[in-house]
Amino acid sequence: MTNFTINGRDVTVDVEADTPLLWVVRDELRLTGSKFGCGVAQCGACTMMVDGMPRRTCITPVGSVDGASIETIEGLEGREAEAVAAAWQGLDVPQCGWCQSGQIISATALLREVPKPTDDDIDAAMAGNVCRCATYVRIRQAIHDAADSMEG
């Protein structure tokens, strides 16, 4: 049995402790916004916030998050998350959309740490999130736009 909080809700799951968190959230909790892309922490599609930090959940054993607080795209809240969501809409960032939950989690985490990121900050924070449609130009601009909107 593993207990954790997901999007503010307490849950208990009865799965093998070595099961990746991603599959527990998708299959058992039926929150499918977080995606599978590689299974080896190379693409970031599975990124969730674990105790406030972005984490690749395709390699995170569920047993290791006992007692943790987890946020997924479905429950992402707060000033930064709202600014990111609005910026993503404003620039029509997604193409196929598969990687975007992970991108948005990483972007939100960045803005929570660095309210006014430089291009280098964005490179460092976002380089782990692959977008095969290469929406990177708009991801970068949307993060800047989100930062600007929080200033105003």
């Binding site: 799965v15 093998e16 070595d18 099961t19 990746p20 599959w23 527990v24 998708r26 299959d27 058992e28 039926r30 929150l31 499918t32 916004g33 977080s34 995606k35 599978f36 892309g37 590689c38 299974g39 080896v40 190379q42 693409c43 599609a45 997924t72 795209i73 479905e74 969501a85 993503w88 809409q89 029509d92 960032v93 997604p94 193409q95 196929c96 959309g97 598969w98 990687c99 975007q100 939950s101 948005i104 964005i122 490179d123 976002m126 380089a127 782990g128 999130n129 692959v130 977008c131 095969r132 449609c133 290469a134 929406t135 990177y136 130009v137 708009r138 991801i139 970068r140």
Partner: protein, 724 residues
């Protein structure tokens, strides 16, 4: 402005077949419910044709016959309908049309199909007619209701108005009455000068659902009692199971069964985690007698030897190129090598199938949905009418889901067949399955030879292309091709340049390794070979890359000329190929009837190119939504750039695929993405493709800049392998 949530829709559990009645469960006002209903007019919904649904709540839903995987048909085709309806963009919705080769066929191909950058081109008139018919019926309904002449009625922003009497109504108000009107056969279409929506930026209909996690893809589908299945595939493409030991796998909690299917060994489990763990514990030995067991190095050597001047068949010939080159002042030769490539869409391949009482329902992102549906019927011995396929949003494809062999449809059907009972199964591929699963961009060799006269004019040009055929022996092979496959060499023929003597040969190579169309198909390699070789010739002749090309363009090549001049203008081209530590390169290439020119700025990032900026000029006819066109060009440049810099699938001795995940098959990342400036040529020509044409020019443009910077001619991709 969002796409309809599919959750509730999927929960209805009934077949997605036109004309099949199903319990509507409170979704009577949705487009999907209407298309599913027997008479197409459930609960006051107006359904003038297979594409347009007007609901009493005033939403207009367009059934999109092309799969949406990021290239924008939801938005683009809905725009065409909205334009002719004079609808308000805020009331527009889009939904995937279900598999139906008759109702939803691609007018260019004759079956329901997404590919060849044809979604907009083949739908441009059809969708506008669908919208115009709906508008005419709205007007007729209003005229009848208000007892006024139809000619006095106007429509704007989704409001139908009779100014003289001061009456007006929304589409929703008129939906039920409009459904009783006669469907016009050939409704009049607007003159392009009357367009209000076409030609302007508008927000995409699928952005919201793809930004908040609510968009439902195949892998997100859940059915009651469903088992997740992963298949142990061979790491030598085409190998078959010789024997296997499942005892350890069956010990895993959640693993229900392990069964052999033609594609490999399938692990059935109650969750994905259990299925993957079970698969990792399988021991399988493979029979590789029918597989490709040569290494890539050996295949390159074999293809190179075959790519002779006399090899294969002549697919284009002008003048006597041999004599012209033999008599030339300077003879230039080059061989270009291009690796096998995987499409690597972010969502690995997947499918869901539910079998119940002799009927099957499927969920998958298929580019040829009727083909996958047909394969399921065949494998399971069902009547085609008893199989329904819901075309799902797909997390990318780039050609991978355009399966003439129904690779995924067949695999999920074999999984159901092996289970031997009713049930529901979700097939999930991993990245390892994806990269080692075959259906690659064909490994290709171009052998080229050209001659220059004393004034630096090109007097002869020869190009022999050697690779496997994508299209021959598939259902696209109509027998008229006389043994040639244009998708193997397209772009090396019909060049825009006026060359006095030219000869292009194609040599068909054989391998058990499967190949497939990959974003821009033959142009992935022909644009590189032709535009790099040409650039080298211009350099030898002391000519400017822009002016040299302009001088060579055939007089009728007006659209090529326009994009070339435009890109030179926006990039501020001044003939200086190197400025400090930066160098500039150019490429021009038409594909899918869209014309693209690109100029790049590169520097040397420690032995390979760092691309800082890309200027693009594109002519794709009428720019239906410039926002989507810019996005597609940005993405196509990034897709082509990452591939050119980093990607190749290597077959080791024995045929084992070396690259199995993104750690060795490296994707372009945000810090490697250049700034991109796109200029769209203003045009009233019918729209052509935009999903693919941005890809071909980027690699040759970078190679031309890199050669200017370093003197190194990159003749083998990726740059990484060429030692760049």
């Amino acid at each position: 402005m969002t796409i309809q949530s599919r959750r509730q829709f999927l929960a209805t559990g009934a077949g997605l077949v036109i004309g099949l009645a199903l319990p509507i469960k409170g979704r009577a006002q949705s487009g999907a419910a209407a298309v599913l209903s027997k008479d197409g007019s459930a609960a006051g919904t107006f359904a003038p044709n297979a594409f347009v649904r007007v609901a009493p709540d005033n939403t207009v839903t367009v059934m999109i016959k092309h799969i949406e995987f990021g290239q924008g048909p939801f938005t683009g085709l809905a725009t065409l309908v909205a334009e002719e309806m004079d609808a308000s963009w805020a009331q527009m919705r889009a939904e995937s049309a279900p598999a139906n080769d008759e109702l939803y066929k691609n007018l260019f191909f004759g079956l329901q199909a997404t590919g060849g950058s044809t979604a907009m081109a083949n739908s441009y008139i059809q969708m506008r007619q669908a919208g115009a018919a709906a508008r005419a019926m709205m007007v007729a309904a209003a005229a009848e209701a208000w007892d006024v002449p139809a000619t006095e009625i106007s429509v704007a922003d989704g409001v139908v108005t009779h100014a003289q009497s001061g009456q007006s109504a929304s589409f929703g108000d008129l939906a039920e009455a409009a459904a009783r009107q006669t469907v016009p056969v050939e409704p009049a279409l607007k003159n392009p000068s009357e367009f209000k929506l076409i030609g302007t930026d508008r927000p995409k209909l699928d952005t919201a659902a793809k930004s908040d996690g609510t968009a439902i893809f195949t892998m997100d589908v859940h059915r009651e009692g469903m088992q997740t299945v992963v298949v142990k595939h061979p790491d030598v493409v085409g190998a078959a199971v010789a024997s296997f030991d499942a005892s350890a796998a069956l010990e895993v909690k959640g693993v229900v069964a392990v069964r052999q299917i033609p594609q490999g060994v399938a692990v059935y489990a109650t969750s994905t985690g259990a299925a993957l763990k079970g698969r990792s514990l399988l021991t399988v030995s493979w029979d590789t007698s029918m597989a490709e067991t040569r290494s890539s190095d050996q295949i390159y050597e074999d293809f190179s030897q075959a790519a002779t001047r006399e090899g294969g068949v002549v697919v284009e010939e002008t003048g006597d190129s041999g004599a012209a080159i033999d008599a030339a002042e300077i003879v230039h030769e080059a061989e270009f090598r291009f690796p096998y490539l995987a499409h690597a869409p972010m969502e690995p391949l997947d499918a869901v199938l539910e079998l119940k009482d002799g009927k099957a329902e499927m969920w998958m992102g298929a580019q040829f949905p009727g083909v996958d549906k047909g394969a399921v019927a065949r494998v399971l011995g069902l009547d085609g009418a008893d199989v329904a396929l819901n075309v799902m949003l797909a997390g990318g494809s780039f050609g991978r889901r355009a399966q003439t062999t129904a690779q995924i449809g067949s695999e999920i059907a074999e999984i159901a067949k092996a289970a031997g009972s009713d049930g529901a199964w979700k097939l999930v591929w991993t990245r390892e399955d994806d990269l080692t699963g075959g259906y690659y961009r064909p490994l290709t060799v171009h052998r080229m030879r050209a001659g220059l006269d004393a004034d630096g004019n090109i007097v002869g040009w020869e190009n022999t292309v050697a690779n496997q055929s994508i299209m021959l022996d598939t259902f696209f092979d109509d027998g008229k091709s006389e043994g040639t496959d244009p998708t193997s060499y397209e772009g090396s023929t019909k060049m825009p340049y006026d060359l006095p003597a030219l000869r292009v040969n194609w040599v068909r190579m054989e391998s058990p390794l499967s190949v497939l169309w990959w974003r821009s198909v033959g142009h992935t390699h022909t644009a590189y070979a032709t535009e790099v070789f040409l650039d080298e010739l211009l350099e030898k002749a002391g000519k400017d890359p822009v002016q040299g090309r302009l001088d060579l363009l055939k007089s009728e090549a007006g659209r090529d000329r326009a994009v070339l001049e435009k890109v030179a203008e926006i990039a501020g081209w001044d003939g200086e190929r190197v400025k400090g530590d930066r160098a500039y390169g150019l490429a021009l290439h038409e594909s899918f009837s869209t014309y693209v020119a690109q100029i790049v700025e590169v520097s040397d990032a420690g032995g390979y190119p760092r691309v800082h900026k890309v200027w693009v000029a594109v002519d794709c006819g009428v720019a239906v939504n410039p926002n989507v066109i810019r996005a597609q060009v940005e993405g196509a440049v990034g897709y082509g750039l990452g591939t050119a810099l980093f990607n190749e699938l290597t077959l080791l001795e024995g045929g084992v695929v070396a690259q199995k995940n993104f750690d060795t098959y490296r994707m372009l990342r945000i810090h490697e993405m250049p700034e991109i400036e796109v200029a769209i040529i203003n045009s009233v020509a019918d729209p052509t493709g935009i999903g693919e044409p941005g890809t071909p020019p980027i690699a040759p443009a970078v190679a031309n800049a890199w050669r200017a910077l370093t003197g190194q001619a990159v003749r083998r991709l990726p740059f990484k392998s060429a030692g760049a």
